[in-house]
């Protein structure tokens, strides 16, 4: 495919997405579910991509995503709750003196949230990045739990409001002529573009080299400690921003907003999308969130067809179905939607061509692609 055609395709696709997004805004009524799903999906897409940068691209199996999101969310909340609402929020413990008159604008809060998460990553990275794969997973998981316990603890109560959590967090607001609804999409898009640029540059390739073979990467002059720390810090930066966006979306955060289950949810998205594929993570994030929050809601409601009581349907069944989907993906469809590939027009073009030329052969190809993509 020629470069020009590709560019035209890309512009068309972007325009189409934009139109769809605007449609989702202007259409009213039943679509309010659609709108919140899209917003939440975007936030999860950012969180999943940040995890993918570490797990899928650098080969560092981290389970600390919820912790970094919590750091981001709390940082954002503490810094941006309007001054006149502070008394209401901190009614039990009172507010720390330094914070009494502090309320930063949202955009600054977002950046500081990301930086704070990145700073935490830099701090613990020195210790945990030396650990081998599974130990690293456990250590990051431990970090996430520590964050959760600390934000709910009494010494920090005047900052994080203990187990009550923080509320009255400013939501999305109109940005000039752009309605508030689009703000999360803009932020997420900017972050994702930066991540795409990163994975496609020399440093991104170095990350991939570390994933493929640490010893060879080091022998080729790649400083393991430096690059792993970079990946960890950048991933945490975006996780922090995702956390802050989540805080804006929810309006209130507690330590229970960021359980281990959240990390698992994000991991599920990354695995379904394909470890090592950003586009995969994005697609999977919207699919998973839509399925979980919207399409599969019916599974949680007891239903009668006529007088027939549909079996199994009651609260919690949705999540069971979800877990089973995850297990099926892990066991039988290990490369996920995209494997390690990114979306490209060439890929689509080739796929269509191969479908045309040998419809029968496609099945065989699929079977081949199933084995050994990960290793």
């Amino acid at each position: 495919m020629e470069k020009k055609t590709k560019r035209i395709c890309s512009v068309c696709a972007a325009a189409a997405l934009l139109v769809l997004l605007i449609l989702s805004y202007t259409a009213t009524g039943t679509t309010s579910m659609l709108r919140s799903v899209l917003q939440l999906g975007a936030i999860y897409a950012l969180a999943a991509c940040s995890m993918n940068l570490l797990n899928g691209f650098t080969g560092l199996f981290s389970l600390g995503q919820a912790g970094f999101m919590a750091v981001g969310a709390y940082t954002f909340a503490v810094l941006t709750i309007p001054v006149n609402k502070k008394a209401n929020v901190y009614y039990l413990y009172g507010v720390a003196d330094g914070l009494k008159n502090l309320a930063l604008p949202s955009w600054l809060g977002l950046i500081i949230a990301g930086l704070m998460a990145a700073a935490f990553a830099a701090l613990i990275g020195a210790a945990v990045l030396r650990l081998k794969s599974d130990y690293f997973a456990i250590a990051t998981l431990g970090f996430a739990e520590i964050v959760r316990i600390c934000v709910a603890s009494s010494p920090l109560a005047r900052v994080t409001n203990g187990s009550l959590g923080l509320k009255n967090i400013p939501g999305f607001t109109d940005l000039g002529f752009i309605p508030a609804y689009f703000v999360p999409f803009i932020v997420v898009t900017v972050c994702l573009v930066v991540m795409f640029l990163l994975i496609d540059c020399s440093f991104g390739r170095a990350f991939k080299a570390i994933r493929e073979d640490e010893i060879a990467a080091e022998a080729m002059g790649i400083n393991l400690a430096k690059h792993k720390t970079l990946s960890f810090v950048i991933s945490s930066f975006f996780a922090g921003i995702a956390g802050a966006l989540l805080a804006m979306y929810l309006g209130a955060v507690q330590s229970t907003t960021f359980p281990l289950m959240l990390t698992y949810n994000i991991l599920l998205i990354v695995v379904i999308g394909g470890m090592g594929s950003m586009t995969g993570s994005i697609i999977a994030a919207f699919l998973v969130i839509a399925a979980k929050e919207w399409w599969l809601r019916v599974l949680d409601v007891e239903t009668y067809i006529g007088s027939f009581h549909v079996p199994f349907l009651r609260t919690g069944f949705r999540m069971v179905v979800f877990s089973i989907v995850l297990m099926v993906v892990v066991l039988f469809w290990r490369q996920g939607i995209m494997g390690q590939k990114e979306f490209s027009w060439d890929g689509i073009y080739n796929r269509i061509k191969s479908l045309k030329t040998r419809k029968k052969g496609a099945n065989i190809e699929k079977a081949n692609a199933g084995g050994g993509v990960n290793e």
Partner: protein, 293 residues
Amino acid sequence: MTNFLQYCLAGLSIGSIYALIAIGYTMVYGILRLINFAHGDIFMMAAYFMIFAMVDYAIPWYVSIVLVILVTIVLGVIIEKLAYKPLRTAPRMSIMISAIGVSYLLQNLATYLFSALPKQYPSIPMLNKTLHFGEVSTSLVTVLTPIVCIICVVALLALVKYTKVGMAMRAVSKDFDTAQLMGIQINNIISLTFVIGCGLAAVGSMLYFTPRPSVFPLAGSLPGLKCFIAAVFGGIGSIPGAVVGGLVVGVCETFMKAVGLSEFSDVFTFVLLVIVLMFKPTGLFGEKISEKV
């Protein structure tokens, strides 16, 4: 002084339970090089099985105990066959994700089946009897726990050390592929590992929940993590290491609570993990593994 003894006893007791669960982690890791994230949830499921047996079916406690242990073992083996066995040749990350998936599934399944609300754990009257040693008063289960733990560990060590199966287990944990070439039925050994691990988890579950009021679907996740840390602390793959690790974590935790830092007792456990890993990456009794270049 009395308080001190009381705390020692409590710490020893909870530490023993941690040790029992940590053994499950350490054995599975030793053989499959897999952190069995689902182990804590198997422990939680065992508690629900107990509720089922004693409350819903009113089975007498001595039968229930045996039944629960058996059912937990069956659950563990099924998990191994369905979720881990198909991935034996897959990259390690996939197996780890599979383990996380099982953990996720068990937690959601428990929420679905038993609801997210805490359920009361059935009490075995005999175990909750209060004993008095001079000034120190405690329940029977607190005293019984370390004893049960010692019996289990000694039996297990004897099994690993003196039986043919035990030798096979040691061989598999040393070198998976070579053991296979030497004619060891690897799948049987792995199943046996899960049988032992889940059996001990079931015993640990009974001892853990008896003095506690209730069970809920996430009840296994934090103890599970702590026990994994205990296993890492002692050197993963080493059974005595797991016991020592469990005791250290249990005792430290109890004393943290005793001095009024109960909020941070879990934080301490994780910090302990990071410190140990930094200075002794393979734990207290772990063997050093180096990659061939």
